[in-house]
Structure formats: C-alpha cells, structure tokens
Symmetry: C2
Subunit: 196 residues, 2 copies
C-alpha cells in the first residue's frame, strides 16, 4: 500500500501518474489506477485535475520541461556561439536519442501524450527556438555569424533543418549506424551557412 498518511498533492499525483503510465502504457493507464497507486479514491484525483486529459497534459508538460531545463545551461554558458550552437543541438539530439533508446516503450508512451497535447508541445518548441534565438543573437553580435534574415528566423530555420535529429517521428532511425555521420553532415552545412 502507498503511504496514505501524507497529504495528497498535485505533485504526488503526477509522480503516481508517470509510474502508472510506465507500467500500463498510455492506452491502459486509467485514473482509477492512479488513485489505487496512491491509496485514495479516484474522486480525490479529480479534486486536483479537472479531467483525465488535464492530468495527462500536466505529465506531458513536466516531461518536456525537463529537456528544456537541460539545454538552458548551454545557452547561458560563456563560450563562442558556434561551439554553443553545436553543443546545444548535439545535446538535444543525444537527450532524445537516449530517451528513445533506453526505454522505447516509455518513449512511445510520451509520443502518444505529445500527440494528444498539441498546445503544450507548441509551447515547448517555442521555448526551444527561443533558446536557439539567443545563441544566434550572441553570434551575430560577436560578429561570428552573418546577420542573414534575423536571429528569430534563422533560429527557426536551424530548428527545422535539424528536425531529423530531434523530432520523435524519426526515433526509429536514431539507432541506425550512419546517423552520427548524417548529423555531422547537416551540422557542418548549417554552420557553414552561418559563418560571417
């Protein structure tokens, strides 16, 4: 039995929901399962989340925010912009690839969740392209990057051009042998385009 003594918080419900999703998968994870895992009635879960969809959305947001957090440090680092750009994209790729490779079923679960929660995903992507924009801005200011079409537009183009290495729809191909070489080839091309 789960600890019934502690008070029920949104945080504890989210943790239990992640565990239930991990165990049962997205199709079979029910609110009743979450309540059972917490040793409460399912009515109590609805006190913190209005609907099952809202609960799943919150779990999705938590998951995506973890990735954003990992990358924020690279944006803030005091290094030359080209190295930061390469590091940022390589870290994003490595993080996604690790998650997809280590636990494919859990990754598939999160792919279902992101498919359900377009708004949360759009906000996440806006967050990521915002981080990229700051790196591009730093590059233009320092003179390392050519001005081009404006930092925001360039950052978005960089994000789109590297989709193959962070978009979950390509997850299957991240295990293929040539993928590292493919990533390097695209990165080299893009860096060449940016240089002043």
């Amino acid at each position: 039995m789960a600890p019934t003594s502690e008070i029920l918080t949104a945080e504890r419900i989210l943790e239990a929901t992640e565990e239930v999703l991990r165990r049962h998968g997205p199709a079979k994870a029910t609110v009743v399962d979450v309540a059972r895992a917490l040793g409460v009635s399912h009515g109590s879960v609805y006190r913190h989340f209005r609907t099952k969809a809202a609960l799943r959305e919150a779990v999705t947001k938590r998951w995506l925010d973890r990735t954003s957090g990992e990358l924020a440090g690279i944006v803030a680092a005091d290094r030359d912009p080209e190295a930061r750009l390469r590091d940022w994209l390589a870290t994003l790729f490595a993080a996604k690839r690790r998650k997809a490779g280590e636990d494919p079923e859990l990754f598939a679960t999160y792919m279902v969740l992101t498919g359900e929660n377009g708004t949360v995903v759009r906000e996440h992507i806006a967050d990521l392209t915002g981080q990229l924009t700051r790196i591009v801005e730093a590059g233009v200011e320092s003179g390392a990057f050519a001005a081009g079409a404006g930092p925001g537009t360039t950052a978005l183009a960089l994000f789109h051009a590297t989709g193959r290495f962070h978009d979950p729809c390509y997850a299957r191909e991240w295990e293929e042998p040539g993928i590292e070489a493919d990533f390097t080839a695209v990165m080299d091309l893009l860096v060449r385009a940016l240089r002043a």
Copy 2:
C-alpha cells in the same frame, strides 16, 4: 460489372487495387474486393501477386515512382545548379503538399502503405538523393558550389535538412500559414552554405 473480356494483367490488377484502396481505405481493402472490382475470382489475383503484401508493395512502388519521374526532368534541365536545386526541392515540396491537401484520405492511405513497405521507401529515397547528388555535382563542377564534404554527403544532408518539407510525417503542418516562409528560410540558409 467490370470488363471480363480483356485478359487479366498485373497492370489492370494494380489499377483496380488503387481504386479499391481509394474507396475503402487501407484497413478495409481486401484481395476479394480487388477481384470483385475486376469481375474475377480472388484466386486469379494470386496468380499475378504471391501475397496481399506483395500487391500492396507494388502499388506503393508505382505511386512513389510517379513522384520520382516528375523530378527527374528538373535534374536533366540545362540551367544553373542553384536554380535547379531550389526548383527541385520546391517541386518536391509542392507535389507532396498538393497530394496531402487535395485528398487527405488517399494520402493517409499511402502513408500506411509506405509504413508497411520500408524497403520500397528506402529505394525511393535512394533514388531521390541520387537525383540531388547529380545537381550538387553539377554545381561543384561549374564552380557555383563549394566542394565541401563530397556531392553524395552534401546531397544527403540537403535532403535531411529539408525533411520538414517533404517527409509525410509533417503533412499536417503543410497547411499552416507560415509554412512557405519556413521553407524559404531553410532554403536560403542551405543555399548560403553551398555557395563557393
């Protein structure tokens, strides 16, 4: 009733199969349906295609070959390589977008088929990147493009970097308003990388 007088050929079976797929969708299209559409018994269909999977694979190949054919003309054209590159990628994007937009259900059907037939899709992609390689080679020879990492590697990088504008997994986003600007931004970046 369909014309029973004509002899049954692989070609006629493929046409009927496309029609059945269009009408019933990939999940409900059966070999019996195809046979009925042709006014023959389903045993006759198995005389030309060993399995249902082989029949669907042949339909997939036919469909993909049509796109390849459209693009081959641009590769052969006698124009400057940068214009040919832009035209080739823009035409690929436009063709995919048109197919996805005009008949979304049929496009969804073909997405299912391509998902089933990895080998045929890989051959199609090898064909497309081969075409791109020839354009890049022409550019390097004429001095318009910098040599870079070799035409094959560069062509593959260009194909990967523009995935957002031809990979079916992005089909939903091809109807969004900013998509043309996104395409132009990525193209401009890539062309900048190529210029000598």
